[in-house]
Symmetry: D2
Amino acid sequence: MALLVETTTSGREYKVKDMSQADFGRLEIELAEVEMPGLMSSRVEFGPSQPFKGAKITGSLHMTIQTAVLIETLTALGAEVRWCSCNIFSTQDHAAAAIARDSAAVFAWKGETLQEYWWCSERALDWGPSGGPDLIVDDGGDVTLLIHEGLKAEQLFEKNGTLPDPSSTDNAEMQIVYTIIRDGLKTDPKRYHKMKDRIVGVSEETTTGVKRLYQMQANGSLLFPAINVNDSVTKSKFDNLYGCRHSLPDGLMRATDVMIAGKIAVVCGYGDVGKGCAAALKQGGARVVVTEIDPICALQALMEGLQVLTLEDVVSEADIFVTTTGNKDIIMVSDMKKMKNNAIVCNIGHFDNEIDMHGLETYPGVKRITIKPQTDRWVFPENNSGIIVLAEGRLMNLGCATGHPSFVMSCSFTNQVIAQIELWKEKTSGKYEKKVYVLPKHLDEKVASLHLNQLGAKLTKLSKDQADYISVPVEGPYKPAHYRY
Amino acid sequence: MALLVETTTSGREYKVKDMSQADFGRLEIELAEVEMPGLMSSRVEFGPSQPFKGAKITGSLHMTIQTAVLIETLTALGAEVRWCSCNIFSTQDHAAAAIARDSAAVFAWKGETLQEYWWCSERALDWGPSGGPDLIVDDGGDVTLLIHEGLKAEQLFEKNGTLPDPSSTDNAEMQIVYTIIRDGLKTDPKRYHKMKDRIVGVSEETTTGVKRLYQMQANGSLLFPAINVNDSVTKSKFDNLYGCRHSLPDGLMRATDVMIAGKIAVVCGYGDVGKGCAAALKQGGARVVVTEIDPICALQALMEGLQVLTLEDVVSEADIFVTTTGNKDIIMVSDMKKMKNNAIVCNIGHFDNEIDMHGLETYPGVKRITIKPQTDRWVFPENNSGIIVLAEGRLMNLGCATGHPSFVMSCSFTNQVIAQIELWKEKTSGKYEKKVYVLPKHLDEKVASLHLNQLGAKLTKLSKDQADYISVPVEGPYKPAHYRY
Amino acid sequence: MALLVETTTSGREYKVKDMSQADFGRLEIELAEVEMPGLMSSRVEFGPSQPFKGAKITGSLHMTIQTAVLIETLTALGAEVRWCSCNIFSTQDHAAAAIARDSAAVFAWKGETLQEYWWCSERALDWGPSGGPDLIVDDGGDVTLLIHEGLKAEQLFEKNGTLPDPSSTDNAEMQIVYTIIRDGLKTDPKRYHKMKDRIVGVSEETTTGVKRLYQMQANGSLLFPAINVNDSVTKSKFDNLYGCRHSLPDGLMRATDVMIAGKIAVVCGYGDVGKGCAAALKQGGARVVVTEIDPICALQALMEGLQVLTLEDVVSEADIFVTTTGNKDIIMVSDMKKMKNNAIVCNIGHFDNEIDMHGLETYPGVKRITIKPQTDRWVFPENNSGIIVLAEGRLMNLGCATGHPSFVMSCSFTNQVIAQIELWKEKTSGKYEKKVYVLPKHLDEKVASLHLNQLGAKLTKLSKDQADYISVPVEGPYKPAHYRY
Amino acid sequence: MALLVETTTSGREYKVKDMSQADFGRLEIELAEVEMPGLMSSRVEFGPSQPFKGAKITGSLHMTIQTAVLIETLTALGAEVRWCSCNIFSTQDHAAAAIARDSAAVFAWKGETLQEYWWCSERALDWGPSGGPDLIVDDGGDVTLLIHEGLKAEQLFEKNGTLPDPSSTDNAEMQIVYTIIRDGLKTDPKRYHKMKDRIVGVSEETTTGVKRLYQMQANGSLLFPAINVNDSVTKSKFDNLYGCRHSLPDGLMRATDVMIAGKIAVVCGYGDVGKGCAAALKQGGARVVVTEIDPICALQALMEGLQVLTLEDVVSEADIFVTTTGNKDIIMVSDMKKMKNNAIVCNIGHFDNEIDMHGLETYPGVKRITIKPQTDRWVFPENNSGIIVLAEGRLMNLGCATGHPSFVMSCSFTNQVIAQIELWKEKTSGKYEKKVYVLPKHLDEKVASLHLNQLGAKLTKLSKDQADYISVPVEGPYKPAHYRY
């Protein structure tokens, strides 16, 4: 696929797989809208006042049908938008086509190479001579990383003419990032300076990106305010938990059609994502073994009747392995070699380094048989025994299925919209410093409220007397900040 | 698609969608083999003695990957096989291609018209001048029906020259059946006579087909012995229950990506299939309402915390409707009109007449928007509100997903293999009359045993003393015939 | 406790623990009546016609509050009743007192010795000079056994003057039975002859008793017709399953207050009772291991995510052991010795020989520490490690808690009432031979219907057209005899 | 019961129901020790250094078997202890007897009047002339309240001779508190001054007490440092959740023997306690309806398949009502009048004002029928329909059953021990101001670790490289403060 930007009749740039899927994408977007009451309410509530008028938003977040509804909510509120995906396999091509045709500049397709992935990210950040972006929606922090690395490189270059050296790292992905920045430096050595000056803030979607932001805040390198959307209750306790409870079995089924009942499934990590995965597997009739480093999460797993062991204890008898840790080096090639024939290995954490794909790919004599895209059988030479790896170790729910369903993404993305509005509204007020913030609880509760009606729920109302008794306002927020839900 | 039979280089007939998918089919068949220990053990146990030597088997059963492993088990045991699917949407084209290329005559593709469907059935029955079939594997009883109707027509024609009159019925499908028989009569007026004389027996897969067989037995019209595979415990209490628990959410997710959690789901019928569906939906976080005619099944639903109401009670507030009854006229167009916008309506019972598709299709002004194959939005003119119908009212797990997973189908199909062996072995012994039989319990238990090892189970062995105490043989069978499991 | 029969002011015999608890019993009986719609409907439907007018019924069935409602239903329908419990620990003394005072002759108290137990059984059978009983309600078959053994002894005595010899068996309980019969022979050598001649039939409550009946039917020794109530669907698939799901954790909690979550629990046997126990333990957060001899039940356990192993595999790491097999010698003292300190061992099968209590009691140096009645810690001398045995190995749900709740017992006992009515109505018609019968399906369905309304359920009604389509009457029964539910 | 303090032979004061139950209490304490690894490890770890040497601890916390193990852990670490219960029904008399005889001064029995309750509290605070306490263990904050109210009264009395006026409030309980303080003032007008000066701090067990502490901190009236044990993860996410999941059905079963399956159960409040209750009821086969004021918790309930409605919506059709809110006036007598006959009403929140007991008791013509202690049927005169109220509206799990099981209480109480050690160790360091603190995360994780081994769990260990990658120490703590688990 030649990396040439294309242009719609109305002059908007894009690069997608197949523009002819736009109609199909539109149909599914319309279905999704019915399932995303939070976003649709936001359009009704904020649309008339056009809060994003003049704002240029760059987003790097799985280019799915649900994200399409988010993008069109941002544009309905007045924003101009450029978008890329934050994962090489997560784009739904019909969603990308519909958005590219109708609403925003999109650079995303299912099955990008890493090279293409970073090209897309750069395109999404490139607002041309008029400058931009003003705001960033990030998921995992790659676009934020690019800007921070870009600025560092420009500063060093400015100082002593040093160019980034891709060969200075053996991380394949960082080599590409350095190359892109190096090449960019040659044409515009102030690109990231200008960007940094203009950007009002970023709202970050996921645990991994948030972790990076707190690290940057800790070492003082954060260039602009950040809102941690992940830790809104209505995000992390819903999307991460209930989203994965839905999409893990979905991905397993679409990729392998395997019967879950009766199997031994190992879930590495028992955080919100791990809890959702373990629940889904248990309910599907699997016997679930959890691996954990944190004794509290381990004790939670035990209280739910799950077994807590180390990977080593079960590696040779389990049928399904899922990594959910947000850490690296969870399942190594040496583990995979010990597995049963046709054991399934997959990852639902943000990055693909939970599974030692590099070790697997470079194992002497290993043979890769692609059953279908994102479903590979890897056969070891010693015993002709194979394992099945999903989505090349990347997010299997997005690589092998369609990610999280609309309803739960409506919760997450309504937080995104609120975060973006907040950053833009306060762009000159000084309310937000170069730090990481979470949304206040009353907004979190608001996001939840917007989703109750559709499910037929009726809330009970506190009397003034009752509210006073428990020392909360009648209209909320109802819980102290440290409340864990 | 022109209805022309094609021929492999080795001279075997077939008609499939795309022979180039044979390699892909083969890969998935190999994966499935690992998950089907019952069938693979049968190959090991019976292969050497070639029990089907000389037997010609016609099968009419969803042409999936799992069925491919069944077919190749039959051929591994010496049979010659011709196959068609028993549902217009259930064929997996890569499975059909692999079998057509490598193992048996296949006439099946995903998305047949009814006309094509019956053409395929006739092809599967047509063994040419050398005659056949000897045995039938049926699912739903369509091939058995064709033979019975064919013979009836030939007898009437013989008697008084009357030809079947397609216009004598307003059942669209029976019109096609009559036409086919009528046209066949002209070329060979003894075709079904010869078939009847030769056929040793049929083994029937599912509730619906079994019901038809018992009706024929009751009115004395059954032409050959039948083994009711459906009512083997290892079939109906596994495939129907655990299979649907797996494949219902799979179908829902692939077709609509809808979030199950938080929804109100109505399951019409709480038999084995309904129990599996209700369990899956409840575990997925839906609130499940059951409709039932049978007070015992209704009380079972209540004991599981499900609500039992009539369709009318919830038709306007539920989000998902699933029919599992084996009866007809369960959800009528008048019901569909009352549903919420984008309510999902689907059927997982054998026939498509559980949902009033005819009423829907002929509703004045109704608009059908095909989101993607097997997922249609039907919009009513009055209020512009739509409902989403899956697989045109046919088996949604096979139409929208890939049916039941290999492991549970291995139980069902091992029963099929055993039933076919039994019929063929006893073909001249007179053991089986023109009646419906179930397999003896020791074979049922054997099927179960063949599936334990793969799941790491270890059985406890009775001592002689214990066996005597409960009056069973040490090696089983362990339960009285009426035991319900 | 001196074994003297007492007499109410109205002249009815009884022997209970404490008559002053009658008021308390009455209050709980009144609560139970609200939860037993099947029995209360039977009073309304049949009361006016007094179908039991003239019938003398002896019952041997746990003398609980629920049984009290059964007894008073029998008396409300015209019967005269004498009752004993079928388990030494299962009597609720306040229930016994209320019935003894108000309604029937009762001989039962919590904590009978075996000697007392059989004395009570004999009292319940003793209708004095006017003769009786006409009908028997049995649970486990002890009263039926007594009559059969009694008759055998009388016949032998008649033949050659031989008296039963208690020392001829080392079964402690049979020694008592023989003694009782021997002593009885001396006063009335025709007692069981007269009884046999008069008895119209027995309705048997539970698996164990049914097994005995089928054995007697098989060897031709059954003396009168028997209705197998256990195998009514509304009994075995409700009482055995949902009843135990309720009462197993109830018994565990009352006896030991142990936390179920996080524990490893072994359920020996995965029949209806085992399924209920395993479900309760799993839901309570335990990790459940099942032991099974039957491959079909084992495969069912696996499909529910349970591990299937032998007792030996887990004996030293599990925390809770429950026997549910109906067989004997399931947990031997050699197993108990290997268990963790304070492992809990209990039985919910009918007889106490599932656990090797004899082996435990006679283990050299073993020490029994009674924590409270029905909760004993047994300490082995070798390592000072102890295990906790509930209810001395007898039905722990009745010994340590109050048995099954009223609602589910209403299902079972409505079957009992219907069975008794049926036997009595057909006493001279010859409809029932000396065989074992189950109730016809329409009565089974009727029992279920009587329990739906209270739970707010609404049944769907078949149209005539639909009923014809599936070949059932509009008003049922709806399923073939072999249907498994 | 005359309120006279008694004295053991060794001279320790006590007032319990029945000292003869001490042996029984000791047996159950020994069983509980095996189930409380956190407390027993604390004895091993801290016992030798006697960290509480010289410390006088007053505790006000349900005097159960589990609390007995806590008390004896405190004394094993060197403390001198006086104890009362924090609820009139929660004492287990055999536990109180064993502790009174063997280990500490106890003033507690099951079924105290309110008068007696506050007398016990005062006794527990009265360390005689030598002064004390040094530390307080509180549950619900009643002892802390007494000290704060006492001091306020003394200060006012000092200022202008004013005595507390019981008639100034119509809260029956506060009238008693004022009376006690008033009477005390006459004998020692500096009692609470001295206490305040001496007390090093309080550790508070539960949500309700914590709420009070934060209110006092907010208005500056808190007299000494407080550690909020409730909000340790290993307390609120275990005891509140899994404890109630265990003890709610236990209380229901012991009080009413009611079948949970098939019932409609209303859980008012979906916090940690409500989540545990709803899970237990759902698993038991009930259909659960949740009432909530907080939209986030409401959305969580929906995601679990529960219905969210107002009490009004279901008051007349539900069977079981449980309040878990920590608020007041949840179920009023006007609601109770609308309920079905024999609907069960109970509370598992800390205080009894969730249920309008006053309204019920004073309803004209209402009749109370005590089925057994803590189980009352209240009959309304209008329709003779009754409801069943458990534990007079107080904590039903402690009133009708035995509270939470040992294992989960070991988590809670190990936090208590650690909190007490911390307060005492830092008594002069100034580390703790007059504020409310939670324990640091590494101690929370430690409490969890102490409970893993007993359940057979094995933790995975981070490599240094992995720990660096996610920026945590190898040995933990592993999560940011805001993590919700």
